[in-house]
Amino acid sequence: MNTLRAAWLVALKDLQLEMRSKEILTSTGLFAILVVTLGSLAFYTDPVSSPNVAPGVLWISILFCGILLIGRSWALERENDAVFGLLLAPIPRPSIYIGKTISALVLLFTIELLLVPLCLVFFQIEPAGIMLPLLALVFLGSLGFVSTASLFSAVGIRTRARDLMLSVLVFPLVAPALLASAVATRELFAGASMAEVIGWIRILTAFDLLFVGFGVWVSRHLLAET
């Protein structure tokens, strides 16, 4: 079976489980809304300071939400040792990593589709003209983060220190992508045009290609043995 078909089956299984339980979407979605709401209340903002504060609140919310979501997604695999059912199948090892990354990205982006408008409303930022580049930034930033976090979660199947490893290794690795996302979002909120943020989008795309490529390559070995 080819890698993409197997990855699609793995992702579909995750989404099927989530559609049934709605556990991840409910818990992480509510958490994300809470962070944005608290952020908008805690920082007393005006039209001048809003564009500077909102990107930080938005990306902190996405970051924590993503960590929760990926942790829960891989916990499903550890329950009953279910992941070994996948490892017993005659499928290329990277397909498990790709499938888990796709499902986590779909779930995170679903939450972001609610989170972004909420953030714009709470921080009184005019959405006209920025929605498309903003969603592109959010998607690319999330892809870089999810692909890296999924890779380390895959390692976590075999280690007890998985949470420690996730926070110690993932945060420094994704820092460049998160910084690029936050700065580009701030510029966008401050009124920068698409042409002005395209450089950041290129940096994010390069980061994503690097980390997805690295993840696919490394997962072949990471998931090969227990």
Partner: protein, 218 residues
């Protein structure tokens, strides 16, 4: 094309987990159409041997051959191996049938839904196959796990305590099922603590202690 093999052999097989030696150099041969039962105390290396044969772990030393193929053909060989592990390796949120359909699709079995349904019926999973696995008793979940191992008609069938949780009637049909696998030429390897069950199904019974075979092939 599926890889085929008539025997599985291990030579000098050893596995360490850090300082712990789980398997200390095992030499064995398993033939098609024969059932081998392995017994031994906890921690004697029985399950480790199965995990190595299932290619879920790699040996520290030694070699496993599946006929003329080695583990370098792992991705293809997995399509010929069925494994019933002690942990059931099923998704609790999916029904028994959905777990089987997923496994069948990952095994590239044509008409995956039909194959899963047929096996559900053959193993009398009928009345609960559409409920989530988390609502199953151990015995019911064990039957789904056995069904999954048989989905792709494996040449090598590895089972770790497969009779756990099965009632008397299910155990009898399970013994019939093993007989059928044997007739079809499968290489069957069963780890079990139950001497009576081992006696009923096995052509030979091996004993393990501290990572070694201590009888009767020691």
């Amino acid at each position: 094309m599926k890889l085929d093999f008539e025997e599985v052999s291990v030579a000098g097989l050893a596995k360490s987990y850090g300082p712990t030696l789980a398997l200390a150099g095992v030499d064995l041969r398993f033939e098609a159409g024969k059932v081998t039962a392995i017994q031994g105390s906890n921690g004697s290396g029985k399950s480790t041997l199965l995990w190595l044969l299932a290619m879920l772990a790699y040996p520290t030393r030694g070699e496993i051959r599946y006929g003329r193929y080695g583990v370098s053909r792992a991705d293809e060989l997995r399509g010929r191996i069925g494994f019933v592990a002690h942990q059931l390796q099923l998704y609790p949120g999916l029904s028994g049938h959905e777990n089987l359909v997923l496994a069948a699709k990952l095994q590239s079995i044509p008409y995956a839904e039909k194959r899963a349904t047929d096996l559900c019926e053959a193993l009398s999973l009928g009345e609960y196959w559409n409920r989530p696995v988390r609502t199953y008793s151990r015995g019911q979940a064990q039957r789904v796990s056995i069904a999954r191992a048989l989905l792709h008609q494996p040449r090598l069938l590895l089972m770790d305590e497969p009779a756990t949780g099965l009632d008397v009637r299910s155990t009898e049909s399970f013994i019939d099922l093993i007989e059928q696998q044997k007739r079809e030429g499968a290489i069957v390897l069963i780890v079990t603590h139950e001497a009576k069950f081992a006696g009923a199904v096995a052509d030979r019974i091996l004993h393990m202690d501290r990572g070694r075979i201590v009888g009767p092939e020691a």
